[in-house]
């Protein structure tokens, strides 16, 4: 059975993971005031 190359897997994860991680980071930054109970 032909397996996907590690490079292909890394690229695939990067295309999905990097924008996702950036979005989650930005969201957490914006929501930090909520966790302090004021904004």
């Amino acid at each position: 059975m032909k397996k996907s190359s590690p490079l292909q897997i890394v690229i695939s994860w990067a295309i999905v993971g990097l924008p996702l991680a950036w979005g989650v980071y930005q969201t957490v930054l914006k929501s930090l005031p909520l966790l302090r109970g004021h904004a």
């Binding site: 059975m1 032909k2 292909q8 695939s12 295309i15 989650v24 930005q26 969201t27 957490v28 930054l29 914006k30 929501s31 930090l32 005031p33 909520l34 966790l35 109970g37 004021h38 904004a39």
Partner: protein, 258 residues
């Protein structure tokens, strides 16, 4: 944005492939207990036949009620938190609240679908309705206590179950109706989502307007709505409880297992 969207979608479309025949993940063991769980059918039901079963409509109602409650929260999240905590939570933080809900919505897709693999779809849905009902009913008290962090936490859990309801639905359908036309059955089930998309915002906005018209303070205008949403989840709990294994008469004759 359009170009980025196009590129990502094309990448996904050309990357997704069917696994080779007979391929299984490392360590995968073929389930042998399937026949012991009566909620998992060994037969196959067509899409036309599925919508003639009470199971489909009980599940449809359960999804409708779960999504109506969840979509109402998404609809009102930003104005609600600003009105419940006037002068404390402003527009910027309210936007952060909406973003946080999106993260928990997404996390719920992973978390609750994984839970459903362990405890079963029906039990997972029952948990959504029970826990969700309790949390909705707790919101007015948490708001009155001016506990912003707890308020945010309650809604994050609630919205995770909104995502979880979607995530577990295809597996629930597969368990009940088999894989024969599960895609088409799922498409029919998602009409519940469309209906909830109309009902949820309509319900929440009209109830809020009614409360304000009766002189209720904006910070408390959502209290009654929360109790109504808890009531909807109680109905959803009953609907889910009524889902039973599909009668053998609905199975595809050629694909029916002895």
């Amino acid at each position: 944005m359009g170009l980025i969207y196009f590129a990502v979608m094309m990448f996904g479309a050309f990357t997704v492939r069917l696994p080779a025949p007979g391929w299984t993940p490392d360590g995968y063991k073929t389930p042998i207990a399937t026949s012991q769980n009566k909620m998992i059918t060994a037969g196959q039901v067509s899409a036309d036949e599925a919508i003639k079963t009470p199971q489909f409509w009980f599940l449809w109602a359960a999804l409708l009620l779960n999504v109506t409650a969840g979509i109402s929260v998404l609809e009102m999240a930003s104005p609600m938190i600003q009105e419940v905590f006037p002068g404390v939570i402003k527009a910027g933080a309210a936007a952060g609240f909406v973003g946080l809900l999106s993260i928990f919505n997404m996390s719920g897709l992973f978390f609750w679908s994984s839970i459903s693999d362990k405890i079963g779809r029906k039990a997972t849905y029952a948990l959504y309705f029970l826990l969700g009902g309790v949390l909705y009913a707790a919101v007015p008290g948490v708001g009155a206590a001016h506990h912003a962090i707890l308020f945010v936490a309650v809604f994050c859990i609630i919205i995770s179950m909104y995502g979880g309801g979607f995530a577990a639905a295809p597996a629930y359908l597969r368990d009940l109706f088999g894989t024969f036309q599960v895609g088409a059955i799922h498409g029919r089930l998602l009409t519940a989502w469309s209906a909830a998309g109309i009902a949820g915002p309509l319900l929440i906005n009209s109830m809020r307007q009614l409360q304000l018209a009766h002189g209720v303070a904006p910070s408390q205008a959502y209290n009654q709505t929360m109790y109504v949403l808890a009531g909807l989840l109680a109905l959803g709990f009953i609907s889910n409880l009524l889902v039973r294994p599909v009668a053998k008469g609905h199975l595809q004759p050629a694909l029916r297992t002895p």
